[in-house]
């Protein structure tokens, strides 16, 4: 699970009764999100503040674009158009795919998001719930594929940084950061709560979602700890008057290692005094999720039991 840094008390929902959000996209120039429902275009801020400014027309379908902007596919022209920076509306005077018509079978929808990178001339399509196909905008040829096995379509594909997109699954809450340019593969996986619409905030590298309860939630890229292993000595035999290596490992919900978390170490007596000492009383987990310490056994030859406690403080 990704670390949830914010959950709103304000409700971000369309004004019209019975209406619901279909698309959400981060707009870099606003540092806010453009939400589209059947009857509304609104600007949504991270804290849930929602400002309606219009009503969609022209059957345009929103998709992700590089640099953190929306783009729009038109079913009548089969072209993709950029958005105006001021209000996020489609700009029909500029075409992002002049050389290739994107047919309806490859078009974006609110169930399966698509992505266009007109600088690198790439279009990302989801042929199945487990795969992304890469098409060249120059000639419409498939030039690569990424098997991610998420088991669910990404309802949004949004720009992360040069050559990377984030995919977000509505029901399972699975999120992935995917390289589509240099060596196409899944770079990171994570999980957020199930949502109605979600987007990737490429300014602060956050996942932003509006839930079915209309609350906004902000998740940072860091995964949330799920388990801390018991301290393990390596080698298993502990000697007095010697430095014994002891390690704990911090992992997330899917067993992935969690680097950079603060671990507090403590010695606790078992029916007696504390035996020996620790080298450190606090340090960070490494890239593989491990935090290591040294236990120095008692130097007076005393024997008995002593507990090593390792703790991670969650905010």
């Amino acid at each position: 699970m990704n670390e949830k840094v914010f959950e709103s008390t304000k409700l971000a929902q369309p004004v019209t009764t019975g209406d619901s959000w279909q698309y959400l996209c981060y707009v870099s120039t606003w540092d806010a999100f453009l939400a589209q429902s059947t009857f509304e275009w609104s600007r949504v801020f991270r804290d849930g503040t929602t400002v309606k400014f219009g009503k969609p027309s022209g059957s345009y379908v929103m998709l992700g674009r590089e640099k953190g902007f929306p783009a729009y596919w038109s079913p009548s022209t089969l072209k993709v158009y950029p958005a105006f920076e001021i209000n996020g509306l489609p700009n029909p005077n500029e075409v992002l795919n002049p050389n290739w018509d994107i047919s309806a079978s490859l078009a974006p929808s609110s169930l399966a998001g698509k992505f266009i990178d007109d600088i690198n001339q790439v279009y990302l399509h989801q042929p199945s719930a487990n795969q992304i196909d890469i098409y060249s905008l120059e000639d419409g040829q498939k030039v690569g594929e990424i098997v991610h096995n998420a088991g669910e379509y990404f309802s949004s594909l949004a720009w992360v940084q040069l050559g990377q997109v984030a995919g977000m699954c509505r029901t399972s809450g699975k999120v992935m950061v995917i390289d589509y340019l240099s060596s196409p593969r899944v770079l990171a996986t994570g999980r957020i709560d199930p949502f109605k619409v979600a987007a990737y905030d490429n300014a602060f590298h956050l996942f932003f979602a509006i839930g079915t309860d209309h609350k906004t939630r902000v998740y940072c890229g860091d995964l949330w700890p799920n388990g801390l292993s018991a301290p393990v000595f390596e080698p298993a035999t502990v000697y007095g008057l010697k430095r014994n290596l002891v390690r704990v490992r911090l992992t997330g919900q899917d067993g992935e290692p969690l680097p950079g978390w603060w671990v507090n170490w403590e010695l606790e007596g078992v029916g007696g005094g504390i035996l020996g000492s620790l080298d450190k009383y606090g340090n960070f987990t490494d890239a593989d999720g491990y935090a290591s310490n040294l236990y120095i056994g008692p130097d007076d030859g005393s024997a008995g039991q002593c507990k090593i406690k390792a703790r991670v403080v969650l905010p």
């Binding site: 670390e3 806010a32 804290d47 027309s57 005077n93 905030d201």
Partner: protein
């Protein structure tokens, strides 16, 4: 950029007072004034407004309004003139004496008139596809005046709203959802670009050889450069009301400001409630969003919080300084006590968290000076 409301003239005009109660109840033919206060009655009510524009020659705001009346023949069309400086009703006596009558054809056959090139007034027509130069007084076409017919162009078009720039041979016009931009309208007209409107158009007005203004049916105001074309700003009327009947917009080219006429339903007693609103192109702050942490909330971390100072339409505001203050007891440290808004209205604050778990409250404050 957005719009700063300067002043509002509530109930900017009146209807003709009937002067007595109608119908006169009772056998004696009137209310007994010793027993009750006679309710007000008016002889007019607004049916529809054809045109609203700034007329630079007289420096006045002009409204051509079709009225329903209790007097024969049941309708009336009057030209309402307002002082462009303060919105005062300039021809009140004339209108209340029914002397500003302009005839029905001007208001029935022209619509959405607005200023255009050479300080003249241009309007689309209801009974033909032409766009014509019209008289600001009667709303009738000027004899042998300028006109174009977009229905003879390719593609054939019929417009309800238009901005005429004869100097650059440009026309920006809309029927409903799109603003079509035409060039070479004097020779071989070519539709070179389109702008999609965020909602159904309510009124369109001319600012200059480059810019025009749009107001949608829900009161959202946009400025567009119709030469490129491109949207330049988005804002909204102050306090949009669900029961406002229609919004009209015009641009005062002398004072460089926007004027909105809000058509409102009559009061319960039949009094006219239309109002004039004056806006300067600068945003009035509407709200500060809550600061939201945008980095991991681990103990010992430097945490960044972002908030936005925005106007009514969600447009970012700059330059303002937003001050942050922690509510006691404070366990960490706010390393940025104040922050300036960026172009999108964003402010960022940094907070140094202590090495143990804690709960903190950050309050934000901005001071806005009203001139």
């Amino acid at each position: 950029m957005g719009l700063w409301p300067l002043n509002t003239v509530g109930s900017c005009m009146e209807y003709i007072d009937n002067g007595s109660c109608v119908p006169a109840p009772g056998p004696s033919g009137g209310y007994n004034k010793s027993l009750l206060t006679c309710p007000k009655h008016y002889r007019q009510s607004t049916n529809s407004m054809a045109n609203f524009f700034y007329e630079p020659g007289n420096d006045r705001l002009i409204a051509h309004i079709l009225l329903n009346t209790t007097y024969w023949p049941g309708w009336d069309v009057q030209r309402y003139e307002f002082n462009a400086a303060d919105g005062a009703w300039s021809n009140r006596e004339e209108v209340l004496a029914r002397d500003a009558w302009i005839g029905v054809w001007g208001s029935a056959y022209t619509k959405a008139a607005t200023l255009g090139s050479f300080s003249k007034i241009y309007a689309c027509r209801n009974n033909e596809t032409k766009i014509r130069e019209i008289s600001w007084e009667s709303a009738e076409p000027i004899a042998s005046g300028w006109w174009v017919d977009p229905y003879t162009w390719n593609p054939k078009s019929i417009y309800g709203y238009a901005v005429v720039n004869r100097i650059d041979n440009l026309l920006a016009a809309a029927a409903n959802w799109t603003l079509d931009c035409w060039r070479n309208i004097g020779t071989t007209p070519e539709r070179f670009a389109q702008l999609r409107l965020p909602n159904v158009l309510s009124y369109l007005t001319y600012e200059s050889r480059n810019y025009c203004w749009v107001i949608t049916q829900d009161g959202v105001i946009l400025k567009a450069d119709y030469q490129i074309p491109r949207w330049e700003m988005i804002s909204t009327v102050q306090n949009p009301e669900a029961d406002a009947l229609k919004y009209f917009i015009t641009y005062d080219t002398k004072r460089k400001r926007v004027v909105v006429f809000r058509q409102r339903p009559d009061a319960e007693d039949g009094a006219c409630q239309h109002q004039l609103e004056f806006y300067y192109p600068m945003v009035k702050p509407f709200q500060l969003t809550q600061p939201v942490p945008v980095t991991s909330l681990k103990a010992g971390n430097r945490i960044v919080l972002a908030a936005h100072l925005i106007g009514d339409a969600g447009e970012g505001l700059t330059p303002y300084t937003v001050a942050g203050e922690m509510t006691a007891p404070v366990e960490g440290r706010l390393t940025t006590p104040f922050s300036g808004t960026e172009l999108n209205g964003r402010v960022c604050f940094q907070y140094q968290a202590p090495e143990e778990a804690c709960t903190e409250t950050l309050g934000l404050k901005v001071t806005v000076e009203e001139s």
